[in-house]
Symmetry: C2
Subunit: 285 residues, 2 copies
């Protein structure tokens, strides 16, 4: 396994790989890898010749009041995990090279970014699409993979890839959960022991909502109200948003559809957590 820090070195490696006719699979991450990332790595490993994982905590996707400085980082641990999962190259660039001053260019996806996480994190998705565009241009993958925990992010990236005509196949991978149901996230480590228990309310309220949706008896507003009620029972929890939306357009639904995304963001203490369930193939009456 190689560790590459310089962009120019990465570019020349990519050129070599391409000239040998080999395909590149890519997993962009912010490091502090967990089972969710490893599941992405395992899935893409079998679909490419050379597997590249990038580790870069991207400043432009954090708001000024957010946790960029405190975001967990542990390169040695990440390196070990990449090694054992068969990663070929870790791309670990410096902030100064990725955003060489004066950087002035941003990539922005409209509409899909104006709802859900886009409301509470203005500029977040602009940061995401900008860094992914940069990384795609450097790594030039044939295939890249994103986790469904960040459902909106994956959708926004697919839209960017289509609109900008990147010749890259985008895969997504189901959410990986702890044994008790909490969605894996690098931010889970912010939780106190008490908050860790309280955080289960995200998945529990989603499961309840899915069941209600499958029962065909409840209006969207009723389902949302029950979710609110359940979450508000937890004193440390504060709802950022609950969304019941079309999984392609993210438009709010008036009625549950055969494909429905139920997503939410909840602060548990000071930690903002997100989770979602994609309800699929509901038999409609």
């Amino acid at each position: 396994m190689q560790i590459v820090k310089k962009i120019s070195k990465m570019q020349s490696l990519v050129k070599d790989i391409k000239s040998q006719g080999k395909t590149i699979g890519f997993v962009p991450t912010m490091g502090f890898l967990h089972e969710g990332h490893l599941s992405l790595i395992k899935t893409i490993k079998s679909k490419c010749d050379i597997l590249i994982v990038s580790i870069f905590v991207n400043p432009t996707q954090f708001g000024p009041e957010e946790d960029f400085n405190n975001y967990p980082r542990d390169f040695n641990r990440d390196e070990g995990l990449c090694q054992v999962t068969g990663v070929d190259i870790i791309f670990y660039p410096s902030q100064n090279e990725i955003y060489e001053p004066p950087y002035l260019t941003f990539v922005e996806v409209d509409k899909l970014t104006k709802t859900m996480c886009g409301i509470s994190r203005p500029g977040h998705f602009r940061g995401v699409t900008t860094i992914v565009c940069k990384l795609f241009n450097i790594v030039r993958p044939n295939i890249a993979i994103f986790g469904q925990k960040d459902y909106q992010q994956a959708l926004v990236i697919k839209q960017m890839v289509k609109d900008l005509h990147f010749n890259i196949e985008i895969l997504t991978e189901p959410i990986v959960r702890e044994a008790d149901g909490l969605a894996m996230s690098s931010r889970n480590r912010y939780l106190s022991r008490e908050e860790r228990k309280d955080a289960l309310v995200l998945f529990q309220s989603l499961q309840m909502a899915e069941q209600m949706a499958r029962e065909h008896k409840y209006a969207v507003e009723q389902i949302k109200n029950e979710m609110v009620k359940k979450i508000e029972e937890i004193p440390t929890a504060k709802i950022d948003y609950i969304a019941i939306v079309d999984p392609e357009s993210l438009d709010p639904l008036e009625k549950i559809q055969s494909h429905t995304l139920i997503a939410l963001a909840v602060y548990v203490g000071k930690t903002r957590l997100i989770d979602n369930i994609l309800v699929e193939n509901l038999a409609m009456e």
Copy 2:
């Protein structure tokens, strides 16, 4: 010479070219080619194996009140000119495929686009960087070339290429002028016979400004005032802007520097024309 309309066809051709280890030179145009374009084609021809010219009148770089619908188009004429200048492939995509609905993604360069043409044409450069990013991803050139008549555009594109880490060398080429000094532009054909004469005031005022700059006697404001005076003598002419700026940052200058860009946009009748002179290597006292 091949004419390629479908994006997928272009992408597979590019893949073939790359797999043969050949380099691609690229001239993006809006068609209605003139000597300025041909000069770009000739310059890049010797620097690449395969020369691709795109012809696409890009709707997103026109404002709602601008001349998108009336912009001159003549594909047969362009085809002939490409043929005789040794173009290998004309990429001539459809608007519907380039901006397949619902397109939502835009590429934007900050700061450099907020001055000069960016003020009078809000959204223009966003349209330019978006289409160029799309075309770069489809054509994947090793080298691309832009004319200095659109000085600000070339600068903005260089910034985008650097910031998004496109592995593409960007060349620029001096302005090509008619015998009497008018900068070549597809929009010159909008001019009436009278306006065509009046339009000479752009270059004449720039030449006067360059001379004043070289004389080291005049303040920036004096030079601008003389330009205004000269242009206002022409009844059909209306100044959009006159800029005397740093050629890298486009920041307004308080004093003439050894490298100074003098640029202007002037309406002649209803036609908006631009021109500029890059004053270089002025001996400073």
